[in-house]
Amino acid sequence: MAASEPSSQAGAIPGIRWARVFAALAALLLVLEALSQALIYAYAGKPFESLSPYRWSAYGLVRNNPALTSPGFEIDRSGFRSLNEYQKQKPAGTLRVLLLGGSVLYSGLAGVRLDQYGRVSSAQTIAPYLEALLAADPLFAGYKIEVINSAVNFNRIVEVSSAYLEEYLHWQPDLVIVFGSINNFYWFRRAGDFAAGQTTLQTRHPFRLEFERLVNEQSLAAFIERAWRTGAEHSAMLALASKGSVVLADRLVQLSQTLAHPSRRPPTAAPRPETADEARAYMQLYASYADAMIAAARRAKQDIAFVWEPALIHSEGSKPLSDEERSLLKSLDQTPEKGAQFEASRQAFHALLDGAGAPVVDPTDALKTTPETVFIDYVHYTPDGNRFIASIVYKQLRALLAAKVKDKK
């Protein structure tokens, strides 16, 4: 008996003090949370609220997240990219211009860009420049001018129109200016795409896929993701971990795609562009959304105009490119077919809206005599580029707004 005691003591496994384990976990998470909060403060210059750029919307898919913690993308309480706050009920004596659109108006940034310009702040988008021009115009003396930037990245006419009809119509704008043409007309349409439902306007928005997974899917994986994404709205540590895991997962997928590339079948022939009939059908589809906006605006006694957004890739030969823009072009895949289709879409865009009696602002001609750097990447603008576009919009639509003022008087 006495001989067996040492051996049983040597084989005994000391019990795990679970209270200590959980206390250590809690302490570790608290330290990591404090560290994450400090890092985000150092990065953004303000306390952590959220790292999610968007919020779901019942109409128009998403809106900008007012709680986004970012050093340059300031979003106001209504989801507008702005340093000012706007009230839905228009104050008396106010001329309100509402800008709708996608990332060109938002001033987003693509992967390949001119890094020397940094981030385009909310004070350097087209909206504040246009607001300053209108406010300084004696024609509008005595009026408070509001130019509201309601752009959301990658909004097509599908999302823009539903957001306008459901929400922004009720903001009582005097003038609505619809940007975002690039998200409808930039991507090359091949023969057969329209019939197959594969054009930009016919396919699901990428965020819609996330919506289906995060909101409608009832799987365990979706439940776990919802849980930690909810946590990430309240914890800087979880928000950083969430972003980190997304980057890691995306990199792993990209790596696997690169490794799988040699086994893919090479394309047999260069894709043919859409036929004339397909181009007309695509423009009809665009028109169905644009017509709805025009009809609603007229019924609500709001003026409406549309903006054509040029692309750097299709500007070679029609704009004197700066050295910076030329350096960007090297990374872009330009072909004559793509350029011809983009130009044909521009002309059809004019014909459609001219026929509907809606003014079109098109900077294409003005770009022909502008050697300065306007583009910050394949399609978005530098701060000076935004100022340039604002001046074109101002010159062309000033008279329209002045007529509105005259009617009010």
């Binding site: 003090r17 890094d115 895991s245 980057v247």
Partner: protein, 74 residues
């Protein structure tokens, strides 16, 4: 330095911090109120939680390849 997402120095700093803490513990400069076994259990719990997060995200990344997300994911 990344603009749209978290800056690149951030994960490097976190890794350096974790490595520094591990070294300090190994050399006896940092006293933990846990036995080696309890520490292993604590790290396993953290590992499992982190793995679940990465696996769920990976499953979503396979379902929705990153190429589509030119303006960042949710």
């Amino acid at each position: 330095m990344h603009i749209d997402r978290i800056p690149l120095w951030l994960p490097l700093l976190v890794v350096a911090l974790i490595v520094g803490l591990a070294l300090a513990w190994r050399r006896g400069w940092l006293k933990l109120p846990l036995t080696q076994q309890e520490l292993a259990v604590t790290l396993k719990i953290l590992f499992i939680l982190g793995s679940v997060m990465v696996l769920v995200t990976l499953r979503n990344a396979i379902e929705l390849p990153a190429g589509q997300f030119i303006y960042g994911r949710f």
